[in-house]
Symmetry: C2
Subunit: 337 residues, 2 copies
């Protein structure tokens, strides 16, 4: 697919954001063969530096000639930036792995979670889309179950952390919490309502159907990644006062019967999955424990007696890593190694 | 059912707890015809006082002769206290409304939410059970939909506040949050894991099936209150870092078709329900807005395209009021007025 070199020039677009920062860290941690790192961001970040392999690298302002000589461009600066600069980067010869929603549902763009559909990369035309954080962790956990007994329907409710919105949302949660604990006045800037000690059933924009875009991403992206439009999905996505990691309560209806024990056995050998499921020891995945890890953690596996073939699962992953930066770098690893 | 008096002697068992405090407040707010209020609690609370109609009333230690002359006893001191003292109170001539799980599934004990099944009170034998908080708000919201198109299956995921555990849990959330915001060490005493900035998929004890008791309460209590064992329910109950109010993401499958607009119309005239559902104005029920209110708030009403007849709803109520104290007093109002 790509010419083999010993080291690649890698651009990170949105290098100072929550996901961009994590992308640079993941590239370093995993020993990705980076020759030169080019951190790119908007003019607002001019003068900032990022740290990579103990070097401080000045952030450059993203411009149309930013991608000369770039082999790989990791984008995480929002859909409008990706729509404008993704094709420019491809034209300049880079392979683009885009973390925004801009290209995900484009039929010519592979939407990839390496553990689930790495083969979709074979047909890429320079641009590869990274799925939404809440979709990624769900499909990694459901893949082995779908392979075994075919999933017919998914009912999912999410508990999503504020880091999915970005650094300023993390600051807002901390600041509002501090204020409330000292009986001060709370200001809301990032979210439409107070997030501290609250739950907002509202992520991304509302559509005429009453669903949010975030909820519909979980429907359409799941079908595209599994390559199966017959999988029915309905989602309710909720922002909770947690800093990092998304949790998901997932109910599945399957064609074949699978016991909770069989499901745990399949999950325990699935790539990228860790089973944390021992109620007798109060062991189940928790956002605060999963922060900074690479795997998707599954617990609370239970047979759902309300239908003939059903299961409930509790799925937690680091939304900045597997939900974003790590998955993007894993896609690049498949392409460049 | 009961002899009419102009005023009744009312005992509140567990008078110093989170729910007991709220019970006394609700009795006052609603002008319940209380002649004498007798606050009862364990020896630990001896020397404490409760405030009722601007009077400080000393808390008495609960003993077997505490119920002499008592007309109504509201219990909220845990299942073991109710198991022991409930029958003693009935024998002494009191009507008992019990907020614990002790008697809920006893076939001879009515389990009542007045908006849903007040008629079940007709057969009481002195003891009436108040359902679990998470069940109450769900059945109040689902009752008009069930009446209209018969609910076949419910998939529910809860976001439950720490006040459901009690006052010490509210203090633990505040204290842990304070510590974390100043980078201090967190101590866990009430919950098995840190609750601040975290989500715990664990409420009440685990059963061999992998479900918690809290989850199975939502299954069995819903069937009993609706008087319909054919309603299938599966639940995942989660503790979130919110002080007061439970939220629920509820997916229902119905026998007949109901549009989101039709559902909102039915809900808007249902007793005890308020519809808060206007995405264009970011209007949906939020725990922080519902604190201290009496109604069950419903929003995010959406048609679920994953099945022929399905709806998603987001249901929020004050777990200390409608979920506990208020519902108990409403039961007493039906019995005594």
């Amino acid at each position: 697919m790509t010419t083999k070199k010993t080291a690649y020039t890698v651009a990170v677009v949105g290098a100072t954001g929550a996901v961009g920062t994590e992308m640079i860290q993941v590239l370093e941690e995993r020993g990705f063969p980076v020759g030169e790192l080019i951190p790119l961001a908007s003019a607002r970040s001019e003068g900032n530096e990022v740290t990579f392999r103990d070097q401080d690298i000045p952030v450059k302002v993203l411009e149309s000639d930013s991608f000369k000589g770039v082999d790989l461009a990791l984008f995480s600066a929002g859909a409008s930036v990706s729509l404008e600069f993704g094709p420019i980067a491809v034209k300049a010869g880079a392979i683009v792995v885009d973390n925004s929603s801009a290209w995900r549902m484009d039929p010519s763009v592979p939407l990839v979670v390496p553990e689930v559909n790495a083969l979709a990369l074979d047909t890429h035309q320079g641009l590869i889309a990274n799925p939404n954080c809440s979709t990624i962790q769900m499909v990694v956990a459901l893949k082995p179950l779908h392979d075994a007994v075919k999933i017919k329907r998914i009912v999912v409710t999410t508990f999503q952390s504020v880091s999915g919105t970005g650094k300023e949302a993390m600051e807002e949660l901390a600041e509002q919490s501090r204020k409330l604990l000292s009986f001060g006045e709370v200001q809301t800037e990032v979210y439409p309502h107070q997030i501290a000690f609250n739950c907002l059933p509202h992520i991304d924009e509302f559509l005429p159907s009453g669903y949010t875009k975030e909820e519909m991403k979980m429907v359409h992206e799941t079908q595209k990644i599994f390559g199966d439009a017959s999988i029915q999905v309905t989602a309710t996505t909720v922002r909770v006062p947690v800093f990092v990691c998304h949790a998901e309560s997932v109910n599945i209806e399957t064609e074949g019967k699978l016991s909770a024990n069989e499901a745990r056995a399949l999950l325990s050998v699935a790539p990228g999955v860790q089973v944390y499921d021992d109620p007798s020891r109060n062991l189940y995945p928790l956002p605060i424990d999963v922060v900074g890890t690479d795997d998707v953690f599954v617990g609370r596996v239970r047979e759902d007696a309300s239908i003939p073939h059903g299961l409930n699962l509790w799925i937690v992953a680091d939304n900045l890593r597997k939900g974003a930066a790590l998955n993007a770098v894993q896609i690049a690893e498949v392409l460049f190694r």
